[in-house]
């Protein structure tokens, strides 16, 4: 098999929950050797998060689908970082690493003695990427913050949702996966610089700031025009129709978006309503936009007669943008995603044989691949401390017994 894109790069992953582990997953999928460091004293929170096989959390601390999703392709070791010897061993792992990342609350790594200044003494050219909720300085640096309240604070929630309902948090911690992507970019960029100069550095990312840069339309409408945007449902600035429409079946919708007269004419023809293209209320883009509520109702009367897949096929054949609102199940059963090999299935001693989302980018010469499932707790202690760091087995066993490697 060909060498993988990031083969030869070693990353010490001090991440927990989502953002930093997701960063590690992106690069591990492309062949980086990622060593995940956690502790039995405070296991990665995702080990306790659903989904569990057959909804049974007692299936074991490595059975979580959430954990398995974010930590495949990684080696797993345990270290008690509240003990001096544990910190020393963490530094030994850092010494064989090119880069590291963490996403603890501000000040936690410093408390362990693993802040950048300390780590740099052990490994001067390390790339140290710190992802924190609000950044390490400023009056909000010590806020207790999770992803969804953070979406609220970013300005994104205020412009997401229906006008008559509360600001919508997007129902996920959007700042986390985006911080993973931005953090991975920063790490690789810093590694390029190190290739040229031999120098490492410290990168800080505030997850809050990383979200604000994703809502420039709202931010700059305020800074340019003093306007405060709010929730518009699915309304677009000029496209209409532009919405999700109910279809045959339970919780079944299709999205349709029309940008031009050509697309509108095709839509009317498919609906068997060619006369609408001539009516003043829908004749051009502006009329359709002004009369979009009426248009939405008429369109939904038509879509209700079909499944989302049927509407999609009919409209796409005529060059109109339509696509089903895919549910969890519909995603997993999507023929296109299957045909592209998006899904991967593997076995895990606690989770069983399950299907996961696979490699996120297709590279035609050095494709990413699944080389191993997510580690059990401490599964690679002997390999990492023994094979990679050269410690004698007796010492490793002693440190396990003393609950340093723990």
């Amino acid at each position: 098999m060909s060498k993988m894109a990031l083969e030869g790069i070693t990353i010490a992953d001090f991440g927990w929950v989502w953002a930093a582990p997701h960063l590690g997953r992106l690069l591990a999928d492309m062949g980086a050797r990622v060593i995940k460091i956690e502790s039995r004293k405070r296991m990665d929170h995702t080990r306790g998060l659903p989904p569990f096989p057959d909804r049974n959390p007692a299936a074991g601390p490595s059975s979580s689908g959430y954990h398995g999703w974010l930590n495949r392709n990684k080696l797993g070791v345990t270290l008690d970082l509240t003990q001096a010897r544990g910190v020393e061993l963490a530094k030994e792992i850092i010494k064989i690493s090119d880069a590291m990342m963490e996403n603890y609350s501000t000040g936690v790594m410093e408390k362990f003695g693993l802040g950048y200044e300390e780590v740099k003494k052990a490994k001067p050219d390390i790339i140290y990427v710190s992802l924190s909720p609000m950044g390490s300085n400023g009056p909000f640096s010590y806020l207790k913050m999770y992803g969804r309240p953070q979406v609220y604070m970013s300005g994104l929630a205020h412009i997401t949702g229906h006008p008559d309902r509360p600001p919508h948090s997007t129902n996920i911690s959007w700042g986390d996966p985006m911080a993973a992507n931005h953090g991975a970019l920063a790490m690789l960029a810093a590694l390029r610089y190190r290739q040229r100069t031999g120098e490492g550095q410290f990168v800080e990312l505030s997850q809050w700031e990383n979200l604000i840069g994703l809502v420039p339309e709202a931010i700059m409408d305020y800074t340019l025009n003093g306007r405060i945007r709010s929730r518009q449902g699915n309304r677009h600035e000029f496209m209409a129709p532009h919405n999700a429409y109910r279809c045959q079946g339970e919780l079944a919708w299709v999205t349709i978006a029309v940008a031009s007269d050509r697309e509108w004419n095709a839509l009317c023809e498919v609906m068997g309503r060619p006369a609408w293209t001539e009516e003043a209320r829908f004749k051009d883009t502006h009329s359709r936009w002004v009369n979009q509520e009426e248009l939405d109702q008429l369109l939904e009367e038509w879509t209700l007669g079909y499944t989302p897949e049927e509407v999609t096929r009919l409209l796409q054949a005529r060059g109109v943008a339509a696509f089903p609102t895919l549910s969890n199940r519909a995603l997993v059963e999507d023929e296109h995603l299957k045909a592209r090999g998006f899904f991967e299935t593997w076995d895990h001693p606690e989770a069983g044989t399950r299907t996961y989302d696979g490699i996120l980018w297709k590279m035609n010469k050095t494709p990413g691949r699944i080389q191993r499932r997510a580690p059990l707790i401490g599964e690679h202690n002997h390999y990492v401390f023994g094979e990679l760091l050269g410690m004698p087995r007796t010492e490793i066993d002693r440190l396990i017994k003393e609950q340093v490697i723990y």
Binding site: K3, E7, L26, P50, P51, F52, D54, G65, M134, G135, G138, P139, F140, P149, G155, A157, H158, H162, P167, T170, N171, I172, M178, A180, N181, H182, L185, L188, A190, R192, V203, E204, L205, E209, G213, V215, P216, E217, I219, M220, Y222, L224, N225, H236, H242, N243, A244, L251, W253, A257, L326, S327, N328, L331, R340, F342, A351, D357, G358, N364
Partner: protein
């Protein structure tokens, strides 16, 4: 001035709207030289998107375009003309990375496939960002932000509610799918650079926005494959309270993942009797009885302003965030103290405040060296100085509509 991390990297951006341009911006802001190729006359569609400076439409007045295209050099080029295509190939021959977000069929029609470009420049990395990727039954489907957002699973989960009626699925504000695809494109492009170190050649990177979204929603696939759990419609939540609460002047979001966070919030509310009920004794039970819980929490929260709830909760270590508007964000003292926002001058827009860097580097700064290019602003610089065409040639290109 200190050197930037990606100094020396040469990028051609053949992109439109958000995904490829955001990818180009991420690379340019870290020091890559990004040459943006636009259609003569019209330019990037983002030039025709709100917000416009002073609410006055104009090709050089879009705040969205100005934000997405900082630090780039801008040229115009009609790749459908013979000479235009030649010029494009000349640019591609000198680049490390080509990032584009055209429909796959269009790139085939133009003869600008990876197979064709590889022959001209074996070291070239071509990063294509499209709604559904380069192959598969839907690869030629047309899709806008709304379609891809909901096609990636995010619309369905937006309908989650604890009681009827189920709301219409929405897409998030702005163009989140395209930003996600642009960021993935940038990471993937650098990944391909590392591969080039040992491979000795470039390759084609195929990014599907649908896959990027489906793979970055909180284990959405695994919720189905592990437990056959759907996450839209009327749903019993997993743990509670994780919900918006009404304040007297807006909304806040309360997220108690651990029991001790809810216990602390109960103290903030003044230890009400109802909270001692067995029904609310742990995070899973609270999820089961969320209807009642929500009523009690909202009755309390309505008495206070967003800021009061935020302050009280945070003082007790409870994760609460207020629904900030763009104004609240721009005026945040925290962001000001960190120097997050940047002011950039522009000949048409004038000086304006833009979102700043997603990260800070201790040695190699993120930096705005130049504002977004005017349409065709660097034609002379690129075609004359770089590619060596004479001024007379360039006049002919302009008159023939090539550039």
């Amino acid at each position: 001035m200190p050197e930037q991390a990606l100094a020396g990297l040469k990028v051609i951006e053949f992109g439109n709207l958000v995904s490829a341009p955001y990818c180009g911006k991420l690379l340019a802001d870290l020091g890559a030289e990004v040459i943006k190729v636009e259609r003569p006359g019209l330019g990037d569609d983002a030039r025709r998107r709100e917000p416009y400076a002073g609410d006055e439409p104009g090709l050089e007045r879009s705040g969205l375009f100005a934000y997405l295209n900082t630090n780039k050099l801008g040229v115009t080029l009609d790749v459908e003309t013979v000479k235009g295509r030649d010029l494009f190939l000349e640019l591609a021959a000198r680049a490390d990375v080509l990032v584009e977000n055209n429909p796959p069929r269009r790139m085939k029609d133009l003869g600008l496939t990876y197979e064709a470009l590889e022959k001209i420049n074996q070291a070239l990395i071509m990063t294509s960002i499209t709604p559904f990727g380069q192959n598969g039954p839907h690869s030629d489907y047309k899709a806008y932000e709304l379609n891809v957002y909901q096609g990636g699973g995010f619309g369905f989960i937006s309908t989650t509610t604890i009681q009827e009626p189920v709301p219409t699925p929405i897409k998030a504000g702005g163009r989140q799918t395209q930003f996600a695809g642009g960021a993935a494109g940038a990471v993937a492009s650098l990944t391909a650079l590392f591969a080039r170190d040992h491979l000795g050649e470039g390759q084609h990177v195929d990014i599907s926005l649908q896959e990027v979204m489906a793979g970055q929603y909180e284990a959405v696939i695994e919720h189905w494959t592990f437990t056959q759990n759907e996450m839209g419609g009327v749903t019993i939540p997993i743990m509670m309270p994780i919900m918006p609460l009404p304040a007297s002047d807006g909304w806040v979001f309360l997220m108690c993942v651990e029991d001790r966070e809810f216990d602390a919030f109960v103290k903030v509310m003044g230890d009400p009797e109802w909270a001692k009920d067995e029904l609310f004794s742990d995070r899973f039970k609270r999820a089961e009885y969320v209807d009642g819980l929500a009523v009690m929490l909202m009755e309390w929260s309505r008495q206070y302003t967003m800021e009061e709830i935020f302050q009280m909760a945070q003082a007790a270590g409870v994760p609460v965030g207020p629904a900030y508007t763009a104004e609240d964000v721009v005026r945040s003292p925290h962001l000001a103290s960190r120097g997050y926002f940047v002011t950039i001058d522009h000949p048409v827009i004038g000086p304006a405040v833009y979102p700043g860097a997603p990260y800070t580097f201790s040695k190699t700064p993120w930096r705005i060296v130049r504002r977004a290019p005017l349409l065709g602003e660097h034609n002379l610089m690129i075609y004359h100085e770089r590619l060596g065409y004479s001024r007379a040639d360039i006049i002919r290109f302009v008159q023939a509509g090539v550039i």
